[in-house]
C-alpha cells in the first residue's frame, strides 16, 4: 500500500539495523534524520555536489540519490564510521595536518570518496585522485590541498612508502 512502512535491514558503520521506513525516503534522510548521523551533508539534493557521499559496499555513492530501501542488505559507511575510536583515519588526519579543511561542509564527502579510492587502489596516480573527488564540489576551491592530503594519506596507509 502507498505510504505504508517497509522493512529495511542494513548495516551502518558496522552496526546492524532493522528499521521501518517509508518507501520514498532517501538514504541521506534515513541517515541524518532517523539514525542521527549528520556527517553526510545535504548540499544540492540533486546529485550535483557530492556532499552527501557515503560508501555502500565500499563504493562511493551519493546518498541523496539512492532510496533508503535500495540499501537493503548492504553495508553503508558514513564519515562517522571512518575513525578508529578516537584515532582519526589517516585521510582525516592528513586533511587536518595539511590544512585542507576550510569551511568543512564538503569534507565528509571528500573523505568518503577518498576512502573508497584508497581501499581499492592504495597507490593512485594524481589523475586517479582527481577523478575520485571530481564529483565532490568545494565552494572554497580548496581542491589542491585535498588532492595533496589524499596523496599524503595514501603514503601513510602504505606504511610510508
Amino acid at each position: 500500500m502507498k505510504g505504508e512502512m517497509k522493512e529495511l535491514k542494513l548495516t551502518v558503520n558496522g552496526k546492524p539495523y532493522e528499521l521501518e521506513v517509508k518507501a520514498e525516503t532517501l538514504l541521506v534522510d534515513l541517515l541524518r534524520q532517523e539514525l542521527k548521523l549528520t556527517g553526510a551533508k545535504v548540499g544540492c539534493l540533486d546529485s550535483a555536489c557530492g556532499a552527501c557521499t557515503v560508501n555502500i559496499d565500499g563504493k562511493a555513492v551519493r546518498s541523496c540519490s539512492v532510496l533508503a530501501l535500495q540499501a537493503n542488505g548492504r553495508e553503508v559507511t558514513t564519515i562517522e564510521g571512518v575513525a578508529d575510536g578516537d584515532k582519526l583515519h589517516p585521510i582525516q588526519q592528513a586533511m587536518i595536518d595539511h590544512g585542507a579543511i576550510e569551511c568543512g561542509f564538503c569534507t565528509p564527502g571528500m573523505v568518503m570518496s577518498a576512502k573508497a579510492l584508497l581501499d581499492e587502489n592504495p597507490n593512485p596516480t594524481r589523475e586517479e585522485v582527481k577523478e575520485a573527488i571530481q564529483g565532490n564540489l568545494c565552494a572554497d576551491e580548496g581542491y589542491v590541498k585535498y588532492i595533496e592530503s589524499i596523496e599524503i594519506a595514501a603514503r601513510e596507509m602504505r606504511g610510508g612508502q
Binding site: A23, S47, R62, S65, N72, S113, Q134
Partner: protein, 290 residues
C-alpha cells in the same frame, strides 16, 4: 519531496514483468535511480507504483564472444563497463564514454539500462550504441523482442518500451575488420552532460576507402540523432581532411538542437561540426590501426 508510491523489489525478471503486466502505465521501474529520482524529486514524475529492479542480479553481467559479440545485462553499472578488461580490449569506445559519464558516485550506482530507458537525448550511451549498431532486448510477460538501438528513442524522455516491457540486455555486434569508433563530447567540466556529443564509427574497405560509416549525435535533437546524410558524405570515398569537415557541416544541418543555459542553438550547431569532425578523425585513425 518525493510523492508517495507503493514499492516492490522483485528478485527476478519474471517477477518484475508480472508486476509490470499488472500495473502497466501506473508503474515505473527504478534501477540505479540516478535519473528517475531527479525527476521524481521535481515531481515531474509521480508513479503510483515503483518497481525497484536494482536487486535483480541476473541482469548484471558482461559477456563477450567473438562470434556473438558483446552482451551487457541492463543492470550493469556504468563503472563496471568502464573498468571491464574485455570491453576495454574489444569495445574501447564504450569504456571511454563511461569514463566521462557523470561522476564516480553516479557510475558506481547507476546502470546502463536505466540510462538508456530514461530517454534523455543528452545521454552518452545511446549515441555510442547507435554508432556500434547495437540492439536492445526487451522483455514482457508475453515474450521478448529485439529492437535496434537507433529505433529505441521516440522523443524527449520517451522510449519504445510498451507499458508491460522492460529492457533486459544490450547486444553489441563485433565490428567488421578495420573498424574504428570514437565518441567526443563538449564538456565544461569532465563528466558533464555533453553540450553536444558525437559518436562516429568508420569501417575501411580493402582499398582503404570508407566502406561504411555511422554517425550519431547526443543533445542535438529530441532523440539521439543518427546523422545519415553526414554518413553518406564519407561512405564510398577516400576520407581526407576536407571530407571530414564536410561530414561535420552536413551533420550540423541535420541537428535540431535545444537551446539552454549551456548553449544556444547556433552554438550547438557550430560545435556539432567540430565534434563530429574530431570523433571522425579519431575513428579513422583507429580504423587504420585496427
Amino acid at each position: 519531496m518525493i510523492a508517495a508510491f507503493e514499492y516492490f523489489a522483485p528478485k527476478t525478471v519474471r517477477e518484475a514483468l508480472s508486476l509490470l503486466a499488472k500495473y502497466k502505465e501506473e508503474a515505473k521501474m527504478i534501477a540505479g535511480g540516478q535519473s528517475i529520482l531527479v525527476v521524481m524529486k521535481q515531481r515531474l514524475l509521480t508513479p503510483e507504483y515503483l518497481i525497484d529492479i536494482k536487486g535483480i542480479t541476473d541482469l548484471d553481467y558482461i559477456k563477450y564472444d567473438e562470434g556473438k559479440g558483446l552482451r551487457i545485462g541492463a543492470l550493469t553499472i556504468h563503472r563496471a563497463i568502464e573498468k571491464s578488461p574485455v570491453i576495454q580490449k574489444h569495445f574501447g569506445v564504450l569504456s571511454e564514454m563511461e569514463g566521462n559519464l557523470a561522476t564516480i558516485q553516479t557510475r558506481n550506482w547507476g546502470t546502463i539500462g536505466g540510462n538508456i530507458c530514461h530517454g534523455d537525448p543528452a545521454g552518452d550511451p545511446a549515441s555510442v550504441l547507435i554508432a556500434l549498431k547495437a540492439k536492445l532486448k526487451l522483455a514482457s510477460s508475453a515474450g521478448e523482442r529485439i529492437v535496434e538501438a537507433e529505433e529505441f528513442s521516440k522523443d524527449y524522455l520517451e522510449v519504445a518500451l510498451e507499458p508491460n516491457e522492460m529492457l533486459t540486455e544490450i547486444q553489441v555486434p563485433t565490428p567488421p575488420a578495420h573498424t574504428g569508433t570514437a565518441y567526443e563530447k563538449l564538456m565544461v567540466m569532465k563528466g558533464d552532460m555533453g553540450i553536444i556529443g558525437a559518436a562516429v564509427s568508420i569501417t575501411l574497405d580493402s582499398k582503404g576507402g570508407c566502406g561504411d560509416a555511422r554517425i550519431a549525435l547526443s543533445n542535438a535533437a529530441s532523440v539521439p540523432l543518427r546523422a545519415k546524410k553526414a554518413e553518406k558524405v564519407l561512405i564510398g570515398k577516400t576520407i581526407n581532411n576536407g571530407l571530414l569537415t564536410k561530414a561535420g557541416e552536413v551533420a550540423s544541418t541535420e541537428a535540431t538542437p535545444p537551446a539552454d543555459v549551456h548553449g544556444s542553438i547556433e552554438y550547438r550547431r557550430e560545435m556539432a561540426k567540430v565534434f563530429v569532425k574530431r570523433a571522425a578523425q579519431l575513428a579513422l585513425e583507429r580504423a587504420k590501426a585496427a
